[in-house]
Subunit: 320 residues, 2 copies
């Protein structure tokens, strides 16, 4: 079953057009459709039918796009997937209201889950949606919070990124009839894979190839984002008496908002490299990837499991 | 069962505080809790248990407050129920994200409905939520739309106001085991009562007693809102060849944004009175009230029905 086809089938040619056109625009932007794919793969692992998991898979994708839409308003982001964001193309109010409606549409799609599975799927989905909002709130809080620990950061990205992947896998498995233990294993696979993905994302923001990385390299440094890379650098600098001056240097750079960030990016990268931060972060990605692969080994071995294994193996080598 | 007690029991002392405090603040503002009450009354009409309808009743109240929270951001409203709105007390981003979480909390409460009733309740709730967003979009569209017909206005207030009242009654009745016909009758009662309520609101905005009316009298005139009163005035002026000059006068006043609206309010009120608009609008309120009462007569006659009758009888005499 082709998820993109199924998303294209959703009909948004409805009045009032001002409400539905931004939803159509958002969903037409593409993206990898990772979450519905994960739900499908998890279902296939337990011989579930694609059509049984489809309503939930679509709900997950619409929900994910709702979070991007509202996040872009909050972050004042102008571009998403190479196109103007909704609040730029229309306005803030449209982005708020059409986003609200997208969240409701996610629940409408979810209500297509078979009646016997609906109560648990709704509970899992609600829990996931709550955790994503909590993750977003922590992300906002960290901007003004002076000290963020690595542990706090990991909690934030678990909520903001991993939980949705984990939830997609668990819901797919549950609808296909997998037992509790298998559902939990897939959930934990999603958590580990999501953490590896996000830390690799933080690494690529510093050391990615500008030609293949989808975002501007150094973007997180420019906007003083407390990423896993930055927090690891701070941590390593604090641990070694000979590197303590790096703490002050980093904090100085991260208190500045500059027009031209060229010099800052070079200086910060140099500090990161002196502290061997890249190696430390890559080790974390490898650890989470390893954990994800170990979990997969406890699950039925079939074509679906192989797909997830392939996905996990790409986590620490991906360049975009 | 005391709805205010039940709302106070909801626990919002959760981290991240930045996400949940604005929700607690919003729900603590009070209000008449009309929607959960309606769900309870409808349930009692069919001998339902209060505790069975409680999850849905609370979901309706939390949902209603979510719409107020986001509407206040979109309308840039500074005050709600005598207190600063969330986006004023915190900021726009907080109002967006905590609002999103409130919508999710509504669905979490809804998931407490018994499993056998959940699929239909979720569908009804989703349909209602969608219509409310559509109503809000039409309301926004009307601000810049040159011509709005009375029919279009009625559709907008049906979606924006009536549907939530109607839905509360239908869900309450459904959970209590009422048949389709009774559910539909209660839904239609809610629609008619909601229209009467909103038109009376439009009337009170012009002719209300400043001491008892909760809002600023003349507020809709000041901000050129195309209310039922205004649209009725335009319609009446267009129908009579001797009153055509009032069309131009009204349109001129309604194209102005003024610092001091005293003169404008007096002038517009005078035109309304020359066109006997108040009488025409009050007749519409009486008609919808009558319709609501007629629907009640088709339902079981008990204490709950008496409560709804009392409520309907207040619609056209209320002054606040």
């Amino acid at each position: 079953m082709d998820i993109n086809n199924e998303i294209a089938k959703l009909d948004w040619k409805r009045e009032p057009y001002g409400l539905y056109e931004p939803i159509e625009y958002t969903l037409a932007a593409g993206g990898k459709r990772v979450r519905p794919h994960l739900a499908m793969i998890a279902s296939q692992m337990f011989d579930g039918k694609d059509e049984d998991v489809l309503p939930a898979a679509l709900a997950l994708e619409v929900f994910h796009n709702f979070t991007l839409l509202h996040d872009d308003v909050m972050d004042k982001a102008d571009v998403r997937r190479g196109r103007p964001t909704v609040h730029v193309k229309w306005n803030d109010n449209t982005a708020i209201l059409s986003g609200d409606q997208m969240l409701i549409e996610a629940y409408k799609l979810l209500s297509g889950v078979s009646a016997d599975k609906l109560p648990k799927v709704l509970k899992l989905f609600n829990q996931m949606a709550t955790e994503i909002c909590e993750g977003q709130q922590y992300d906002v809080d960290f901007e003004t919070q002076e000290q963020v620990t690595i542990e706090e950061y990991l909690k934030m990205i678990r909520l903001k990124t991993s939980v949705l992947l984990a939830n997609a896998l668990q819901i797919g498995a549950y609808i296909a009839g997998a037992d509790e233990q298998a559902q939990e294993a897939l959930y934990q696979f999603g958590i580990a894979a999501g953490l590896a993905f996000q830390i690799q994302d933080d690494i690529l923001d510093v050391w990615g190839n500008p030609k293949t990385f989808g975002k501007v390299v150094g973007g997180d440094i420019s906007c003083n984002k407390k990423t896993f890379v930055y927090l690891t650098a701070l941590h390593r600098a604090t641990q070694s008496s000979t590197a303590l001056h790096h703490v002050t240097q980093l904090q100085q750079w991260y208190s500045q908002v500059l027009q031209d960030n060229t010099e800052k990016i070079v200086a910060v990268k140099t500090i990161f490299e002196q502290l061997e931060v890249r190696e430390a972060c890559e080790m974390m990605v490898a650890d989470y990837t390893q954990k994800a692969l170990q979990i997969l080994a406890t699950l039925p071995q079939n074509a679906a499991t192989a797909q997830l294994r392939q996905l996990a193996n790409k986590l620490n080598t991906r360049q975009d």
